[in-house]
């Protein structure tokens, strides 16, 4: 892990907060997608390649998620930021596995945090129920801004925690090269299993499955010709 300057760490926390907010609250512009979050985090950490390797890997996991209704899912945005910080300035073949482990743990924690925020929002609504019943538009605004603030705090806390864990792992968790490479292979294999499983589930047995197969064939040919 590269030793981040305080200004870079601060920028990463701000970026992590923005991508956490983007997931559900505002503005859902897709900056929370790992491929975007990772590319920008890599640029901020001074290693775009690391950001892309981490971002594409977490995108494979994120494609397994269909975020409809109240379904619970991990928050890959801040997780990608923290994992990129850990992978930065190291050969990705040896850093990706450890970064994936950290990132996935943070992503799960982020999903849990999202549930806590939703419960806190529900409590706040109960607190303002009389004002809501009376039709006070000021109460609606206060509830909305309060919820956004709670989600921003979740994102900032999650990213800061991820960066702190990345710093500890980068300085104290030493792995030999073969274990580090093994972790990367397992992480990549699991990422592929996530995207394949998600694609098969989305495809069902209809025409989409045939298009998935046709795409895989084209992708195989393109990969062989590269």
């Amino acid at each position: 892990m590269t030793d981040l300057a305080p200004s870079s760490a601060l920028l990463l926390v701000i970026w992590g907060t923005l991508v956490a907010l983007d997931l559900v609250s505002v503005p859902q512009a897709m900056i929370a997608r790992p491929v975007v979050a990772g590319a920008v985090a890599g640029w901020l950490a001074g290693d775009v390649e690391a950001g892309l390797r981490v971002g594409v890997l977490f995108e494979l996991f994120a494609l397994d998620v269909l975020p409809v209704g109240a379904v619970r899912y991990p928050d890959y945005g801040p997780a990608t930021v923290a994992a990129t910080a850990l992978a930065a300035d190291s050969p990705w073949q040896f850093a990706l596995g450890q970064s994936a482990a950290l990132g996935l743990a943070i992503a799960v924690l982020g999903g849990f945090g999202l549930q806590l925020v939703r419960r806190a929002n529900a409590r706040a609504i109960q607190h303002y129920s009389a004002a809501l019943a009376a039709g006070e538009s000021g109460a609606i605004r206060r509830l909305q801004y309060g919820s956004l603030l709670r989600d921003a705090m979740r994102g900032a806390g999650l990213t800061a925690l991820g960066l702190a864990c990345a710093w500890v792992l980068g300085h104290y968790a030493w792995l030999d090269r073969s274990t580090a490479l093994g972790l990367t292979l397992v992480a990549v294999g699991c990422g592929l299993s996530a995207v394949i499983g998600g694609a098969l589930r989305s495809a069902g047995r209809g025409p989409r499955l045939r298009w998935l197969g046709a795409g895989a064939l084209v992708g195989l040919i393109a990969a062989a010709l590269r």
């Binding site: 859902q28 512009a29 897709m30 997608r33 491929v35 975007v36 590319a39 775009v48 892309l52 594409v56 890997l57 995108e59 494979l60 996991f61 994120a62 494609l63 397994d64 269909l66 409809v68 209704g69 109240a70 379904v71 073949q93 596995g97 994936a100 482990a101 996935l104 992503a107 274990t179 490479l181 093994g182 972790l183 292979l185 397992v186 992480a187 990549v188 294999g189 699991c190 592929l192 299993s193 996530a194 995207v195 394949i196 499983g197 694609a199 989305s202 495809a203 989409r208 298009w211 998935l212 197969g213 046709a214 795409g215 895989a216 064939l217 084209v218 992708g219 393109a222 990969a223 590269r226």
Partner: protein, 226 residues
């Protein structure tokens, strides 16, 4: 949407669970059940939520309860169209294109192109949706049925399947060609195992849990058998 006759028969018992808390609510949920059955295959998560909503507080003359029942059931199906268009269609399609772009080395074009295309589509849809809602009023169901959304869903789903199918081999090669193909076969074996195991265990063993488990086991084995 099927189940109309069964719903009509069940409406005869719409006051069967009349109570002071939800009044006709539970009876409406009972009558809505056949209408919502198709939703189970399209979107199981939303189906559960729709069942919850269908049994909430409701009161009206029992002879006219069918009006509200039909309208709310229709609204549940219309809501799914948005998920099919965006979360199961446009987003995976554009993410797949971005992943292919990153793998082929046009990183920033891919990332910026993804953000621009998605947000153009999203903003245009938002403007259209608000205008259509304001213009159509209570005739919104007909307006949606006659709109471009159904046709867009017909092509965006297969296109997303094709894109994801093409991206998977390219992304796999992008990671594994640098590591060497003997080790890559290990990663592909992990991927195949992951797909099989997570399909077998379903929701109790998500790919994220499987990955964390595999990473921890690998570190433990390496620690015990150096």
């Amino acid at each position: 949407m099927n189940g109309g006759w069964r719903a009509w028969l069940r409406l005869f018992a719409v006051q069967g669970t009349w109570n002071y808390e939800r009044m006709l609510g539970v009876g409406m949920g009972y009558a809505a059940e056949p209408l919502l059955e198709d939703l189970k295959t399209v979107d199981p998560v939303r189906h559960t939520e729709a069942v919850v909503r269908s049994a909430e507080f409701f009161n009206c003359n029992p002879n006219l309860a069918g009006l509200a029942l039909g309208a709310t059931a229709r609204a549940e199906y219309d809501a799914v169209m948005g998920d099919q268009l965006f979360w199961a269609g446009l987003v995976p399609l554009l993410v797949a294109a971005a992943l292919i772009g990153v793998v082929l080395g046009v990183t920033w074009w891919a990332v910026v192109g993804f953000l621009v295309l998605y947000n153009l589509a999203r903003i245009a849809t938002g403007v259209w949706a608000l205008r259509t809602g304001l213009d159509a009023g209570m005739g919104i169901g007909t307006a949606i049925a006659q709109s471009w959304i159904s046709k867009a869903i017909e092509w965006v789903g297969p296109a997303a399947g094709f894109g994801i199918g093409a991206a998977i081999p390219l992304v796999a090669a992008w990671y594994l060609e640098d590591i060497g193909w003997p080790a890559a076969f290990g990663a592909l074996a992990v991927a195949a195992t992951g797909v099989a195991v997570t399909r077998w265990f379903g929701a109790s063993l998500t790919t994220v849990r499987f990955t964390l488990l595999a990473l921890v086991l690998l570190v433990l084995f390496r620690w015990m058998l150096p």
